[in-house]
Each structure stands twice: as C-alpha cells, then as structure tokens.
C-alpha cells in the first residue's frame, strides 16, 4: 500500500468573481504566494509543482505556459501540468509525494470563464463526431439529467430549489462566494425556466478564479501545521462518454472513486461536492453514499461560485480548511470533469 502520511498544510483561493480585472497569471501570483505564506515555507522548499488549467478556456493554444510565471519557476522547478481541474493536479502531486524523495508539493488550478461563452466552449468537449456539431451545451445536458431524475421519481423541482436555497444561505459566511444570501424556495420556484426543467438559479454563476494547495509529508507536515488535514485516500474514475449509454441519474464512477479513496460510508462532518447544477447534488449525495447529518457544501459549493479549472480544488480547500480549523474531523471533497458527472475524483481527509 502506498504511504498515506500526506497532509494539506496550506491553501489559498481568489474570490469567485464574474469578471476579474486581473489576468489568469495575476490571479495565480497572489494565490500561490498566499498558500506558500500560510504553509510557512520558502518557495524553494517545494519539491514538486503541478498545475491545472484549460487552454480553450483561457483562449489560446499553450496558454498554460504563462501560468509558470506565477509558480516561481526560476531557478528551474520540478513541474508538470494537467489539462484538467486543479484537483487532478493535486492528485498528481499527492502521488508524486508518495515516492518519498521530496517533502512538499504545490498544486494549483486557474481559469477565467468570463471572456468566452461557456455554453460554446464546453460544447467542444463533447464527442466531435456525434455531439459537438449539435452544439449540445452543458446546461441542456444538465437539464436532460434533471428531467431523468424527475421522471425516475428521485427528486422534485422543489428539491432542486431547496439545494439552491441552502447553498446560497451557507455561502453567506463564505467571503469568496459570488452568490449568497437568504432566498425563499417558493420564490425560486416562481422563476421562469432557463432550460426546462432548470431555472437560472439551478445553474452555477459564470466565474473567474484560482486556487492553490500546499501538501507536506509526515513529520514535515506536523512541523509546519498544528493540525494538518491528512489525506487518507484519493482516487478518480471515469465513465463512458455518451450520455445515452449510461444511467445519467447516477454517477457510477463517483461511487467507485469514493470506495477506492477509502470512504466506507461512515460518518462525515463535511462533504464539499462539485455539484455544478442543483440536481447533481442529489445525485452525488446518493452516489458518494453521504450519510445523514453530513454538512454538504458549507461553502455554498459551485452554485455559489464556479471558477472552472479551480472549482474542484476549491472543494478540497473548503473541506481541508474545516479540518485545519478544528470544526471537522473527517471530510470528503469531490471534483468532476466531463459532461454529466462523467469523471469524478474523491479526496478523503481527517484530522489527527
């Protein structure tokens, strides 16, 4: 079995913003610096760095190369990049730490959704032969998924609205949230459809943002942090791509990832899940097997702020923050990629 004594000891995120005035690199410069400061380390102590971003979101081939400028890349660093959410960069960095030759690793993720139309960008992530030419956008797909959930009798439109109301209410205490505050479920249900059966509030906001996490091994983690968030397990899995060949009312790969990450269905204080559309929280609660009493998305989750390519890593940060802060002993974080929860990552964390 791989070594498991790896913990999160530092993190930072930008506020989730509709239209950030800074460039993506500028967002990262401050964020990485803040994470390094929180961890109480020098940049040169970082033995491995992994970045996550998406060229097509940033708006040009090789766009990710500029992000190196925020990572303190001189003198040269041991570094890699995933074309994925920062949560997958965290996975690669966590794996790299397990080789035992380095003690500290940095993972970060960044993206600005404001310059482009996400409905057009993400339509190009679909199968280029059978789906992309239809212009099938994430909202339409999520609405089909919502309908399937309604048809199966597993949720009602009121359930969707209740997820939104709770998300906004919980986000009120999150200074990084983009959408927050008390909203009335009946008022939400009175709103017109955006793409039926989804209403605008069932969709995430369009967000810009960045996030960074510092991990350390064993005694180094204990030395740097009085209460590290120990990563007990991390795993990610993927399902077939075409929505018509799988049961879209569930997320089979999320179930597998949770099990492989070592989550046994036991009590959790907090779960931060990447439910980008309100019905997906209902699906993920079941797929991940979250027990009653688990506080889900105390940060407000992606419905309160959705900085794509950082949003999954933000889930890890929000879960880890509650362990480091002492308000939680066991927390689960989830990230996703692809249409309709096709790919899922789970990170299980505990206090000492």
């Amino acid at each position: 079995m791989p070594a498991r004594d790896i913990a999160i000891i530092g993190y930072a995120q930008t506020p989730s913003q509709r239209d950030a005035i800074q460039s993506e690199v500028q967002l990262l410069v401050g964020t990485i610096t803040d994470a390094v400061t929180m961890a109480g380390i020098e940049r040169r102590e970082i033995g491995f760095t992994c970045a996550g971003s998406c060229d097509y979101l940033t708006g040009g081939p090789f766009a990710f190369v500029s992000n190196l400028e925020a990572a303190g890349s001189w003198p040269p660093i041991s570094e890699s990049h995933v074309e994925a959410d920062g949560a997958f960069a965290l996975y690669e960095a966590w794996m790299r730490l397990q080789e035992g030759d380095i003690d500290i690793a940095l993972a970060f993720g960044s993206g600005k959704s404001s310059p482009s139309n996400p409905a057009e960008v993400w339509a190009q992530q679909l199968d280029p032969y059978y789906l992309a030419p239809l212009g099938a956008d994430p909202v339409s797909l999520a609405a089909i998924q919502a309908r399937a959930l309604l048809d199966a009798g597993r949720a009602t439109e009121r359930d969707f609205a209740e997820v939104v109301a709770r998300s906004r209410a919980q986000a009120a205490s999150n200074p990084n949230a983009q959408l927050s505050g008390a909203v009335d479920v009946d008022a939400l249900l009175a709103a017109p459809y955006h793409t039926a059966p989804l209403r605008r509030h069932d969709l995430p906001p369009i967000s810009d943002g960045a996030a960074a996490v510092i991990m350390a091994r064993g005694d180094k983690a204990r030395e740097l942090c009085s209460r590290p968030a120990w990563i007990r397990g991390m795993d990610h899995r993927i399902d077939p791509h075409q929505p018509g060949v799988r049961d879209i009312t569930t997320a089979r790969s999320a179930t597998t990832a949770a099990k492989k990450a070592g989550y046994d269905g036991g009590p959790l204080d907090v779960a931060e899940v990447c439910a980008t559309f309100s019905p997906q929280e209902i699906i993920l609660r079941e797929a991940l097997g979250l027990p009653e009493g688990t506080q889900i998305n105390p940060s407000g989750g992606p419905l309160a702020g959705n900085p794509v390519m950082a949003v999954g890593l933000v889930r890890v940060i929000e879960a880890a923050a509650r362990i480091i802060g002492g308000s939680a002993d066991r927390a689960l974080a989830h990230a996703t990629a692809g249409p309709l929860l096709q790919q899922n990552l789970v990170c299980l964390m505990e206090g000492e």
């Binding site: 239209d19 005035i21 500028q26 410069v29 766009a63 190196l68 400028e69 925020a70 600005k112 310059p115």
Partner: protein, 183 residues
C-alpha cells in the same frame, strides 16, 4: 464494410468549423500601456524587489513573484538594441494574412530589462541584419495607431502602433550589453 473505395473515403471526412470568440477587458497595467503608446510613449513596471523593468508591464515580476503596480511604472526609450531575429517565410494556413518573407526581431529598449518581440526591422537589407544593431521605433501617425490587437494573452499587436524599428546607424552595442536577452 470496405474502407478503401474512393467513394467511401470521401464520405469519411467530416468538416467541422470550431469558432470561439474571447472578449475581455485589458488588465489595468496593459490598459495603461496602451494609453501611453497611443501618445508615443513606452512604459514598463520596475520590480520593487530586483529592479528589472518589464515592458509591457505584466503587473508582477515572474522572477521574484511579486506584484507590481502603477507606483512601479517607468518610462523607457523608444530606442534600443536588436537582440535576436529571424526572417520568416510565412507558411500558409487558415487565417494567415502574411505572404512575403518578414523580419521577426526582438528589441531591448534602453531602460528595459525585457525585449519587445516580433518587430520588423527596416532601413537595412535583410542580409545585413545582425544582433547588436542600434534601432529606433518608427511610430505610425497618431491617427493611424490601432491597439485592437493588444490582448492580455500577450501576442503582440504593437506593430499597429509602431510600424517598424529602423536602424539608427549608431555603432553596434557590445555583446555584453545584450547577451542576457537572446530571446
């Protein structure tokens, strides 16, 4: 099914136009740079930590990883040293407008620590261009300056304000003055 008949091959090709538009505000540092070049002036940010001057201003120093702001703004000269170049024979591709061979040079402006790339060099035959030559900006007339091509992604656009850099005829700079700017 056979895959090698000509008719089948033709059917097997699928044309797919992918077209995405990105609109964004210039960052404040770049917006300020654009304000100044429209007036014929070049500015950069001096890193408060290492004193290197970045042109155009990035809003941070990538070597020290510290942010820079309007307080760090400095004016640099529109004259400088040719630090590297190549002559490009344009390759035809979708959207390519260039047809004739063109110079692609980096110029280290006096007072700057980073060269501006992708510049045309004039006043000298292509065959006589060499690193170390002293050059100066040939500004377009104010009314003809266009800045739409300048983006946060940093892919040039300066050519719509500065037509080219022409050789001044001053003695060449010593390699010591530009050997750290070979990019």
């Amino acid at each position: 099914m056979s895959t090698d008949s000509p008719a089948r091959k033709e059917e097997m090709v699928m044309e797919h136009l992918v077209s995405l538009t990105y609109r964004e505000r210039l960052t404040p540092n770049l917006n300020r740079f654009v304000d100044r070049i429209l007036e014929g002036e070049l500015i950069g940010h001096r890193c408060p930590s290492c004193s290197r001057v970045y042109v155009p201003p990035k809003g941070y120093c990538p070597l020290c990883v510290v942010t820079t702001s309007a307080e760090d703004e400095v004016k640099v000269s529109d004259r400088g040293i040719l630090t590297g170049f190549t002559i490009i024979t344009p390759v035809a591709y979708y959207g390519q407008q260039a047809t004739d061979p063109f110079v692609y040079a980096s110029v280290l402006l006096d007072g700057a620590s980073t060269p501006v790339g992708g510049q045309d060099i004039t006043g000298v035959a292509h065959g006589r261009i060499h690193t170390g030559m002293r050059v100066r900006a040939v500004w377009r007339p104010p009314a003809e300056r266009r800045v739409e091509g300048i983006t946060n992604r940093g892919w040039g656009g300066l050519d719509a304000v500065i037509e080219s850099f022409e050789v001044t005829g001053e003695p060449d700079a010593s390699p010591e003055d530009y050997k750290e700017h070979l990019f």
